[in-house]
Symmetry: C2
Subunit: 191 residues, 2 copies
């Protein structure tokens, strides 16, 4: 495991990098407590980050890699589940890209048929993973993001070897907001 | 270049695979003309497909890989640009996964700094591609999907070696709906 020497996110309270600006290099538990009632645009300057709908790293998750996010409304979520704002965020610790490894299981608690990934997969069904639900994950190395739909779209959930000891035994453990075990694409988080 | 022996998409006019059902193995120029005023759920059984907002393969694009799409509202687009329906779709011809190659250029008409990709890239800025705009693309092999934001989110645009002779000289040529040249992630389309 390694992380960049410094992870940096710059946030603004207005779209297109306007208004009040602040730079963070560590966890932000609550943007309101840091003087941002809302974050409407941001730029990831280094590292990979995960943003959350609610304070305290709760609610819908957004994996954020290096680049520009000028307009929260244009970026966030889907029409079916509107997320108003990002209220907390923290850096992600990734593995070296070639050393990521993930086990997935058909049933909860590491039971049933087992699959192994060491590369990005835009379609689990294409890989022969029947059905569209995953029961549990074991993250051997690195940080991964799994998504509800093929092509890395829809709800997304972060899976980290550094969190939960890499053990995600039940759908409840990979996202308090998870309404379904439907997972159809998975990829490594890059930094 | 190769495509699956058969590409198959099954569509329904109600969410969660309910209501009227039809199976397509070739281009659908207009879903209304095929008796579907709306397509609200679908399943890609084989091949990769691209769906379009409007009839005649116009408007916002959605790359669709093998898997289940139970709810159009939950899947499509962003809050900033609502797409009501998918009104046309066609199969995508992909390359063998290891043989895809793409050139990107800083300026239109293949001018300026040049980059080359043969693998998926969730963050062009991370790769050292300065700024967040691409001026032009030359697709040497395969089919690629580029996205407005890192992590394959936001507006997406299909780039194919079999279309336009692989030449995308200007932002207008990779999507009639493109409002910006902002491209921050690119990956191969898988089938």
């Amino acid at each position: 495991q390694h992380s960049s020497p410094v992870s940096t996110i710059v946030v603004w309270d207005e779209p297109f990098f306007q208004g009040k600006r602040h730079e963070f290099t560590t966890d932000c538990y609550s943007t309101p407590e840091r003087g941002f009632s809302t974050v409407r645009s941001f730029r990831i300057e280094s590292g990979a980050w995960v943003g959350f709908e609610h304070c305290g790293f709760q609610g819908q998750q957004f994996v954020l890699e290096r680049g520009e996010y000028p307009c929260w409304e244009a970026w966030s979520g889907s029409n079916a589940y509107h997320v108003d704002r990002m209220s907390s965020f923290r850096p992600i610790t990734c593995a070296e890209h070639g050393r990521s490894q993930l086990l997935l299981f058909e049933q909860e608690n590491f039971q049933g048929r087992r699959g192994e990934l060491s590369d990005d997969c835009p379609s689990l069904p294409e890989l022969g993973w029947g059905g569209s639900a995953v029961g549990s994950f074991l993250v051997c190395s690195g940080a991964w993001v799994c998504s509800q739909y093929p092509g890395y779209r829809g709800f997304q959930y972060l899976l980290e070897s550094d969190s939960h000891a890499g053990e995600y035994k039940h759908v409840r453990e990979w996202g308090s907001h998870a309404q379904t075990g439907q997972v159809q694409s998975i990829r490594r988080v890059q930094q």
